[in-house]
Protein backbone atom coordinates (compact mmCIF):
# COMPACT_ATOMS: atom_id res chain seq x y z
CA UNK A 1 0.00 0.00 0.00
CA UNK A 2 1.47 3.32 -0.99
CA UNK A 3 1.50 6.12 1.48
CA UNK A 4 -0.20 9.37 0.54
CA UNK A 5 3.25 10.98 0.80
CA UNK A 6 4.39 9.06 -2.31
CA UNK A 7 1.70 10.74 -4.33
CA UNK A 8 2.34 14.12 -2.88
CA UNK A 9 5.95 13.92 -4.11
CA UNK A 10 4.85 14.18 -7.70
CA UNK A 11 3.64 17.73 -7.82
CA UNK A 12 2.15 19.15 -10.98
CA UNK A 13 5.32 21.12 -11.55
CA UNK A 14 7.55 18.07 -11.18
CA UNK A 15 5.25 16.07 -13.42
CA UNK A 16 5.39 18.66 -16.19
CA UNK A 17 9.15 18.94 -15.82
CA UNK A 18 9.48 15.19 -16.25
CA UNK A 19 7.21 15.35 -19.26
CA UNK A 20 9.36 18.04 -20.82
CA UNK A 21 12.46 15.98 -20.11
CA UNK A 22 10.96 12.89 -21.68
CA UNK A 23 9.81 14.93 -24.64
CA UNK A 24 13.27 16.37 -25.16
CA UNK A 25 14.78 12.88 -25.07
CA UNK A 26 12.20 11.54 -27.48
CA UNK A 27 12.93 14.42 -29.83
CA UNK A 28 16.68 13.99 -29.58
CA UNK A 29 16.81 10.26 -30.12
CA UNK A 30 13.98 10.38 -32.61
CA UNK A 31 15.74 12.90 -34.79
CA UNK A 32 18.96 10.94 -34.45
CA UNK A 33 17.09 7.86 -35.61
CA UNK A 34 15.46 9.67 -38.48
CA UNK A 35 18.70 11.21 -39.72
CA UNK A 36 20.60 7.94 -39.56
CA UNK A 37 17.73 6.28 -41.39
CA UNK A 38 17.98 9.02 -44.03
CA UNK A 39 21.72 8.55 -44.28
CA UNK A 40 21.29 4.87 -44.93
CA UNK A 41 19.34 5.65 -48.09
CA UNK A 42 21.76 5.52 -51.01
CA UNK A 43 22.54 8.83 -52.72
CA UNK A 44 23.02 7.08 -56.01
CA UNK A 45 20.29 5.48 -58.04
CA UNK A 46 20.90 1.76 -57.78
CA UNK A 47 21.03 -0.80 -60.54
CA UNK A 48 17.32 -1.44 -60.22
CA UNK A 49 16.89 1.85 -62.00
CA UNK A 50 15.87 1.93 -65.59
CA UNK A 51 17.54 4.82 -67.33
CA UNK A 52 15.48 7.19 -69.48
CA UNK A 53 16.84 5.49 -72.58
CA UNK A 54 15.60 2.10 -71.35
CA UNK A 55 17.89 -0.76 -70.50
CA UNK A 56 19.30 -1.35 -67.08
CA UNK A 57 21.28 1.42 -65.62
CA UNK A 58 24.55 -0.39 -65.17
CA UNK A 59 24.92 -0.59 -68.91
CA UNK A 60 25.97 3.05 -69.26
CA UNK A 61 28.54 4.84 -67.11
CA UNK A 62 29.55 8.16 -68.54
CA UNK A 63 33.02 9.57 -68.44
CA UNK A 64 34.69 12.74 -69.64
CA UNK A 65 38.24 13.34 -70.79
CA UNK A 66 39.80 16.78 -71.18
CA UNK A 67 42.89 16.84 -73.37
CA UNK A 68 44.71 19.96 -72.21
CA UNK A 69 47.38 19.50 -74.87
CA UNK A 70 44.77 20.20 -77.55
CA UNK A 71 42.82 23.05 -76.01
CA UNK A 72 43.29 26.27 -77.98
CA UNK A 73 41.46 28.49 -75.49
CA UNK A 74 38.83 29.71 -77.94
CA UNK A 75 36.01 29.55 -75.39
CA UNK A 76 33.59 27.75 -77.73
CA UNK A 77 32.75 25.33 -74.92
CA UNK A 78 31.97 28.15 -72.49
CA UNK A 79 29.71 29.94 -74.96
CA UNK A 80 27.97 26.75 -76.00
CA UNK A 81 27.42 25.78 -72.36
CA UNK A 82 26.08 29.14 -71.34
CA UNK A 83 23.69 29.29 -74.27
CA UNK A 84 22.59 25.70 -73.96
CA UNK A 85 21.91 25.89 -70.24
CA UNK A 86 20.86 29.51 -69.89
CA UNK A 87 23.65 30.24 -67.43
CA UNK A 88 23.41 33.82 -66.11
CA UNK A 89 26.14 36.34 -66.87
CA UNK A 90 29.06 36.18 -64.49
CA UNK A 91 28.60 32.49 -63.72
CA UNK A 92 29.99 29.46 -65.46
CA UNK A 93 29.28 25.77 -65.47
CA UNK A 94 32.44 25.23 -67.43
CA UNK A 95 35.35 27.60 -67.86
CA UNK A 96 38.84 27.73 -69.31
CA UNK A 97 41.93 28.69 -67.33
CA UNK A 98 45.06 30.06 -68.94
CA UNK A 99 48.33 29.06 -67.27
CA UNK A 100 51.47 31.02 -68.07
CA UNK A 101 54.86 30.04 -66.65
CA UNK A 102 57.77 32.42 -66.20
CA UNK A 103 61.49 31.61 -65.98
CA UNK A 104 61.64 32.41 -62.27
CA UNK A 105 58.97 29.82 -61.53
CA UNK A 106 56.10 32.23 -61.19
CA UNK A 107 52.78 31.06 -62.59
CA UNK A 108 49.97 33.34 -63.68
CA UNK A 109 46.48 31.89 -63.96
CA UNK A 110 43.93 33.88 -65.86
CA UNK A 111 40.31 33.28 -66.81
CA UNK A 112 38.58 36.48 -67.93
CA UNK A 113 34.82 35.80 -67.90
CA UNK A 114 35.66 32.12 -67.69
CA UNK A 115 37.13 32.41 -71.18
CA UNK A 116 33.73 33.18 -72.68
CA UNK A 117 35.20 35.70 -75.12
CA UNK A 118 38.36 33.77 -75.80
CA UNK A 119 41.75 35.07 -74.71
CA UNK A 120 43.55 38.16 -75.91
CA UNK A 121 47.13 37.88 -76.93
CA UNK A 122 48.20 40.52 -74.43
CA UNK A 123 51.70 39.18 -73.99
CA UNK A 124 53.33 42.56 -73.29
CA UNK A 125 51.01 43.09 -70.33
CA UNK A 126 51.58 39.58 -69.12
CA UNK A 127 55.36 39.98 -69.05
CA UNK A 128 57.04 39.64 -65.74
CA UNK A 129 57.22 42.78 -63.66
CA UNK A 130 59.47 45.44 -65.18
CA UNK A 131 62.55 44.69 -63.14
CA UNK A 132 62.66 41.14 -64.43
CA UNK A 133 61.09 41.77 -67.79
CA UNK A 134 61.15 38.20 -68.93
CA UNK A 135 58.89 36.54 -71.44
CA UNK A 136 56.93 33.48 -70.40
CA UNK A 137 58.51 30.14 -71.16
CA UNK A 138 55.56 27.80 -71.15
CA UNK A 139 51.80 27.92 -71.15
CA UNK A 140 48.63 26.01 -71.76
CA UNK A 141 44.88 26.11 -71.28
CA UNK A 142 42.94 23.94 -68.85
CA UNK A 143 39.19 23.65 -69.34
CA UNK A 144 37.36 22.97 -66.11
CA UNK A 145 33.93 21.59 -65.39
CA UNK A 146 32.16 19.49 -62.78
CA UNK A 147 34.19 16.38 -62.11
CA UNK A 148 31.12 14.24 -61.43
CA UNK A 149 32.94 12.55 -58.59
CA UNK A 150 32.14 9.03 -57.46
CA UNK A 151 32.57 10.05 -53.79
CA UNK A 152 30.87 13.41 -53.85
CA UNK A 153 31.35 15.86 -51.02
CA UNK A 154 28.58 18.04 -52.47
CA UNK A 155 25.81 15.45 -52.32
CA UNK A 156 26.76 14.38 -48.82
CA UNK A 157 26.24 17.81 -47.35
CA UNK A 158 22.85 18.50 -48.93
CA UNK A 159 20.35 18.71 -46.08
CA UNK A 160 17.23 18.19 -48.20
CA UNK A 161 18.25 15.50 -50.69
CA UNK A 162 18.25 17.89 -53.62
CA UNK A 163 21.52 16.67 -55.04
CA UNK A 164 21.96 13.18 -56.35
CA UNK A 165 23.74 10.90 -58.75
CA UNK A 166 21.99 9.14 -61.57
CA UNK A 167 22.74 5.52 -62.35
CA UNK A 168 24.97 6.70 -65.19
CA UNK A 169 27.19 8.53 -62.71
CA UNK A 170 25.99 12.05 -63.48
CA UNK A 171 25.72 14.38 -60.48
CA UNK A 172 22.59 16.52 -60.71
CA UNK A 173 20.63 19.07 -58.70
CA UNK A 174 16.88 18.89 -58.27
CA UNK A 175 15.86 22.55 -58.51
CA UNK A 176 12.46 21.79 -57.03
CA UNK A 177 13.90 20.48 -53.78
CA UNK A 178 16.92 22.75 -53.52
CA UNK A 179 16.47 25.39 -50.84
CA UNK A 180 19.53 27.37 -51.92
CA UNK A 181 21.46 26.99 -48.67
CA UNK A 182 24.75 26.85 -50.56
CA UNK A 183 26.35 24.07 -48.51
CA UNK A 184 27.18 22.14 -51.67
CA UNK A 185 28.75 25.23 -53.22
CA UNK A 186 31.09 25.39 -50.24
CA UNK A 187 31.69 21.65 -50.19
CA UNK A 188 32.82 21.31 -53.79
CA UNK A 189 36.62 21.47 -53.80
CA UNK A 190 36.66 22.29 -57.52
CA UNK A 191 34.40 25.34 -57.45
CA UNK A 192 32.05 23.68 -59.91
CA UNK A 193 28.84 24.79 -58.24
CA UNK A 194 27.24 28.19 -57.85
CA UNK A 195 23.99 29.65 -56.65
CA UNK A 196 22.00 30.69 -59.67
CA UNK A 197 20.71 34.20 -58.93
CA UNK A 198 17.71 33.68 -61.22
CA UNK A 199 16.38 30.51 -59.63
CA UNK A 200 18.10 30.86 -56.24
CA UNK A 201 19.05 27.22 -56.39
CA UNK A 202 22.38 25.47 -56.72
CA UNK A 203 23.44 25.08 -60.31
CA UNK A 204 26.18 23.06 -61.92
CA UNK A 205 27.37 21.22 -64.99
CA UNK A 206 25.03 18.35 -65.82
CA UNK A 207 27.12 16.99 -68.69
CA UNK A 208 24.09 18.29 -70.57
CA UNK A 209 21.94 15.51 -69.17
CA UNK A 210 19.07 16.62 -71.41
CA UNK A 211 21.29 16.14 -74.46
CA UNK A 212 23.14 12.94 -73.57
CA UNK A 213 19.89 11.15 -72.75
CA UNK A 214 18.76 11.99 -76.29
CA UNK A 215 21.92 10.53 -77.79
CA UNK A 216 23.60 13.91 -78.34
CA UNK A 217 26.95 15.00 -76.98
CA UNK A 218 27.19 17.67 -74.29
CA UNK A 219 27.22 21.12 -75.91
CA UNK A 220 30.82 21.82 -74.89
CA UNK A 221 32.01 18.59 -76.49
CA UNK A 222 29.97 19.09 -79.65
CA UNK A 223 31.27 22.62 -80.25
CA UNK A 224 34.92 22.15 -79.31
CA UNK A 225 36.83 22.74 -82.56
CA UNK A 226 40.02 21.18 -81.18
CA UNK A 227 38.62 17.84 -79.96
CA UNK A 228 39.97 18.68 -76.52
CA UNK A 229 36.86 17.29 -74.85
CA UNK A 230 35.79 13.68 -75.18
CA UNK A 231 32.61 12.30 -73.68
CA UNK A 232 31.12 8.84 -73.75
CA UNK A 233 30.25 5.55 -72.15
CA UNK A 234 33.25 4.15 -70.34
CA UNK A 235 31.52 0.80 -69.95
CA UNK A 236 31.59 0.28 -73.71
CA UNK A 237 35.11 -0.85 -74.63
CA UNK A 238 34.64 0.32 -78.22
CA UNK A 239 33.58 3.87 -77.43
CA UNK A 240 35.95 6.71 -78.30
CA UNK A 241 36.44 7.56 -74.65
CA UNK A 242 37.36 4.00 -73.70
CA UNK A 243 39.96 3.94 -76.45
CA UNK A 244 41.38 7.23 -75.25
CA UNK A 245 41.43 6.12 -71.64
CA UNK A 246 43.14 2.89 -72.65
CA UNK A 247 45.88 4.55 -74.66
CA UNK A 248 46.65 7.71 -72.69
CA UNK A 249 48.09 8.59 -69.33
CA UNK A 250 45.26 10.34 -67.56
CA UNK A 251 45.05 12.13 -64.27
CA UNK A 252 42.34 13.70 -62.15
CA UNK A 253 42.23 17.03 -60.37
CA UNK A 254 43.05 17.01 -56.65
CA UNK A 255 43.35 13.25 -56.46
CA UNK A 256 44.57 13.60 -52.87
CA UNK A 257 41.05 14.56 -51.81
CA UNK A 258 39.81 11.12 -52.74
CA UNK A 259 36.64 12.27 -54.42
CA UNK A 260 37.36 9.97 -57.40
CA UNK A 261 36.36 12.27 -60.26
CA UNK A 262 34.88 10.82 -63.44
CA UNK A 263 36.32 13.75 -65.41
CA UNK A 264 39.89 12.93 -66.32
CA UNK A 265 42.66 15.05 -67.77
CA UNK A 266 45.43 14.42 -70.26
CA UNK A 267 48.58 16.51 -69.93
CA UNK A 268 47.85 17.96 -66.53
CA UNK A 269 50.66 19.88 -64.86
CA UNK A 270 51.37 19.72 -61.15
CA UNK A 271 50.73 23.46 -60.92
CA UNK A 272 47.13 22.98 -62.05
CA UNK A 273 44.79 23.01 -59.11
Amino acid sequence: MTSPADHEELTRRAFLEKCAEAGAHTFLFGSLFVTTAMMRLPQEATSRTVGPRGGTAKEVIYGFVVDTTKCIGCGSCVRACKAENNVPDGYNRTWVEQYTFFPNGEVIVNSPNGGENGFEDDLPERNMPEEIGQLPVRGFFVPKLCNHCIDTPCIQVCPVGASYKTAEGVVLVDPQRCVGCGYCVQACPFGSRFLNPETNTADKCTWCYHRITKGLKPACVEYCPAKARIFGNVNDPYSEISQILATNRVQVLKSYLGTRPRTRYIGLDSEVI
Binding site: L10, F15, C19, M39, L41, P42, Q43, E44, A45, T46, R48, T49, P52, T69, K70, I72, G73, C74, G75, S76, R79, A80, A83, E84, Q98, Y99, T100, N117, G118, F119, E120, D121, L123, R126, P136, G139, F140, F141, G161, A162, S163, Y164, K165, T166, L172, D174, Q176, R177, T206, C208, Y209, H210, R211, T213, K214, L216, A219, E222, Y223, P225
Partner: protein, 173 residues
Amino acid sequence: MRHAKHFVRLFALLAVVLIAFLAVRAQVVPKDFGTLGRFRASAIKEAAMREPRHLGNEACSDCHAKVNDAWAAGKHHTPQCENCHGPGLLHVKVMSEDSVAAYPDRIKAFPKALRPTTGTQECLWCHLKTFERPSALKSIKNVERHTIEKGGTFTAASKCTDCHNPHTTVVKQ
Protein backbone atom coordinates in the same frame (compact mmCIF):
# COMPACT_ATOMS: atom_id res chain seq x y z
CA MET B 1 -5.68 6.60 -10.26
CA ARG B 2 -5.56 10.25 -9.38
CA HIS B 3 -3.39 11.15 -12.35
CA ALA B 4 -5.17 9.19 -15.05
CA LYS B 5 -6.69 12.39 -16.38
CA HIS B 6 -3.22 13.87 -16.88
CA PHE B 7 -2.01 10.85 -18.79
CA VAL B 8 -5.01 10.93 -21.05
CA ARG B 9 -4.44 14.60 -21.75
CA LEU B 10 -0.78 14.08 -22.38
CA PHE B 11 -1.21 11.18 -24.74
CA ALA B 12 -3.99 12.94 -26.54
CA LEU B 13 -1.66 15.87 -27.03
CA LEU B 14 1.11 13.58 -28.26
CA ALA B 15 -1.29 11.87 -30.65
CA VAL B 16 -2.35 15.23 -32.05
CA VAL B 17 1.29 16.28 -32.50
CA LEU B 18 2.12 12.96 -34.17
CA ILE B 19 -0.82 13.18 -36.54
CA ALA B 20 0.03 16.76 -37.39
CA PHE B 21 3.65 15.74 -38.04
CA LEU B 22 2.62 12.87 -40.30
CA ALA B 23 0.14 15.07 -42.14
CA VAL B 24 2.73 17.80 -42.76
CA ARG B 25 5.33 15.22 -43.74
CA ALA B 26 2.98 13.61 -46.25
CA GLN B 27 2.42 17.04 -47.77
CA VAL B 28 6.05 18.14 -47.79
CA VAL B 29 7.93 15.00 -48.79
CA PRO B 30 7.24 14.02 -52.40
CA LYS B 31 5.86 10.52 -52.97
CA ASP B 32 8.82 9.31 -54.98
CA PHE B 33 11.40 10.64 -52.53
CA GLY B 34 13.63 7.76 -51.51
CA THR B 35 12.43 5.21 -54.02
CA LEU B 36 15.76 5.31 -55.84
CA GLY B 37 17.89 6.99 -53.22
CA ARG B 38 17.89 10.08 -51.05
CA PHE B 39 16.32 12.24 -53.74
CA ARG B 40 13.14 12.69 -55.75
CA ALA B 41 13.11 9.91 -58.35
CA SER B 42 11.21 11.92 -60.94
CA ALA B 43 13.88 14.63 -60.84
CA ILE B 44 15.98 12.44 -63.16
CA LYS B 45 13.25 12.41 -65.80
CA GLU B 46 12.69 16.14 -65.41
CA ALA B 47 16.40 16.81 -65.89
CA ALA B 48 16.39 14.72 -69.06
CA MET B 49 13.27 16.37 -70.46
CA ARG B 50 14.63 19.81 -71.32
CA GLU B 51 14.84 20.68 -75.00
CA PRO B 52 18.36 21.03 -76.46
CA ARG B 53 18.98 24.53 -77.76
CA HIS B 54 21.83 23.66 -80.07
CA LEU B 55 20.31 21.67 -82.89
CA GLY B 56 23.32 20.68 -84.96
CA ASN B 57 24.06 21.39 -88.62
CA GLU B 58 21.41 19.06 -89.99
CA ALA B 59 18.77 21.38 -88.59
CA CYS B 60 20.10 24.26 -90.69
CA SER B 61 20.74 22.48 -93.97
CA ASP B 62 17.09 22.29 -95.08
CA CYS B 63 16.59 26.02 -95.23
CA HIS B 64 20.18 27.13 -95.82
CA ALA B 65 21.21 24.52 -98.34
CA LYS B 66 23.51 26.86 -100.24
CA VAL B 67 25.52 27.95 -97.22
CA ASN B 68 25.54 24.45 -95.84
CA ASP B 69 26.82 22.91 -99.06
CA ALA B 70 29.55 25.52 -99.36
CA TRP B 71 30.49 24.93 -95.73
CA ALA B 72 30.56 21.15 -96.14
CA ALA B 73 32.63 21.32 -99.33
CA GLY B 74 35.07 23.92 -97.99
CA LYS B 75 37.99 23.82 -95.61
CA HIS B 76 36.11 25.20 -92.65
CA HIS B 77 33.86 22.41 -91.44
CA THR B 78 35.28 21.97 -87.96
CA PRO B 79 33.47 25.04 -86.64
CA GLN B 80 29.79 24.29 -87.01
CA CYS B 81 26.95 26.67 -87.78
CA GLU B 82 26.08 27.20 -84.16
CA ASN B 83 29.69 27.81 -83.13
CA CYS B 84 29.44 31.20 -84.78
CA HIS B 85 25.70 31.83 -84.95
CA GLY B 86 24.73 30.71 -81.46
CA PRO B 87 22.03 28.21 -80.52
CA GLY B 88 19.49 27.74 -83.29
CA LEU B 89 16.43 26.53 -81.40
CA LEU B 90 14.60 29.85 -81.30
CA HIS B 91 15.64 30.80 -84.82
CA VAL B 92 14.31 27.58 -86.27
CA LYS B 93 11.08 27.84 -84.27
CA VAL B 94 10.58 31.43 -85.26
CA MET B 95 11.40 30.85 -88.93
CA SER B 96 9.47 27.64 -89.34
CA GLU B 97 6.38 28.31 -87.29
CA ASP B 98 6.26 32.02 -87.88
CA SER B 99 5.41 32.20 -84.19
CA VAL B 100 6.94 35.58 -83.54
CA ALA B 101 4.21 36.29 -80.99
CA ALA B 102 5.44 33.41 -78.87
CA TYR B 103 8.89 34.91 -78.33
CA PRO B 104 8.38 38.70 -78.37
CA ASP B 105 11.28 39.53 -76.03
CA ARG B 106 13.92 37.56 -77.85
CA ILE B 107 12.74 38.75 -81.23
CA LYS B 108 13.00 42.36 -80.16
CA ALA B 109 16.58 41.80 -79.05
CA PHE B 110 17.61 39.63 -81.99
CA PRO B 111 15.27 39.88 -84.96
CA LYS B 112 16.47 36.52 -86.30
CA ALA B 113 16.72 35.03 -82.79
CA LEU B 114 20.38 34.24 -83.35
CA ARG B 115 23.52 35.60 -81.80
CA PRO B 116 24.58 38.54 -83.99
CA THR B 117 27.88 38.02 -85.77
CA THR B 118 30.54 40.69 -86.16
CA GLY B 119 32.60 38.91 -88.80
CA THR B 120 35.77 39.45 -86.74
CA GLN B 121 35.12 38.52 -83.14
CA GLU B 122 34.06 34.96 -84.07
CA CYS B 123 37.22 34.45 -86.09
CA LEU B 124 39.53 35.76 -83.39
CA TRP B 125 38.12 33.39 -80.79
CA CYS B 126 39.70 30.55 -82.69
CA HIS B 127 42.35 32.15 -84.86
CA LEU B 128 44.18 34.66 -82.69
CA LYS B 129 47.49 33.11 -81.72
CA THR B 130 48.10 33.36 -78.01
CA PHE B 131 51.27 32.21 -76.31
CA GLU B 132 49.53 29.37 -74.49
CA ARG B 133 47.93 27.93 -77.60
CA PRO B 134 49.26 24.75 -79.19
CA SER B 135 50.15 25.66 -82.76
CA ALA B 136 48.11 23.02 -84.54
CA LEU B 137 45.55 25.52 -85.80
CA LYS B 138 46.38 28.05 -88.53
CA SER B 139 46.21 31.35 -86.78
CA ILE B 140 47.24 34.96 -87.09
CA LYS B 141 49.30 36.93 -84.59
CA ASN B 142 48.05 40.41 -85.26
CA VAL B 143 44.93 41.53 -87.12
CA GLU B 144 46.44 44.73 -88.45
CA ARG B 145 49.61 43.08 -89.69
CA HIS B 146 47.66 40.23 -91.31
CA THR B 147 45.34 42.61 -93.13
CA ILE B 148 48.15 44.77 -94.41
CA GLU B 149 50.30 41.78 -95.35
CA LYS B 150 47.45 40.41 -97.43
CA GLY B 151 47.07 43.66 -99.29
CA GLY B 152 44.14 45.21 -97.45
CA THR B 153 43.78 48.52 -95.70
CA PHE B 154 43.21 48.25 -91.97
CA THR B 155 40.60 50.50 -90.40
CA ALA B 156 38.48 50.24 -87.28
CA ALA B 157 35.67 48.91 -89.46
CA SER B 158 37.81 46.16 -91.05
CA LYS B 159 36.35 42.71 -90.76
CA CYS B 160 37.77 39.29 -91.49
CA THR B 161 34.73 38.74 -93.66
CA ASP B 162 35.82 41.65 -95.88
CA CYS B 163 38.22 39.18 -97.40
CA HIS B 164 37.32 35.70 -96.09
CA ASN B 165 34.05 33.98 -96.71
CA PRO B 166 33.25 32.81 -93.17
CA HIS B 167 31.76 29.53 -94.37
CA THR B 168 34.54 28.42 -96.68
CA THR B 169 37.45 30.73 -95.63
CA VAL B 170 37.97 31.33 -99.37
CA VAL B 171 39.37 34.81 -99.90
CA LYS B 172 37.14 37.00 -102.02
CA GLN B 173 38.79 38.49 -105.06
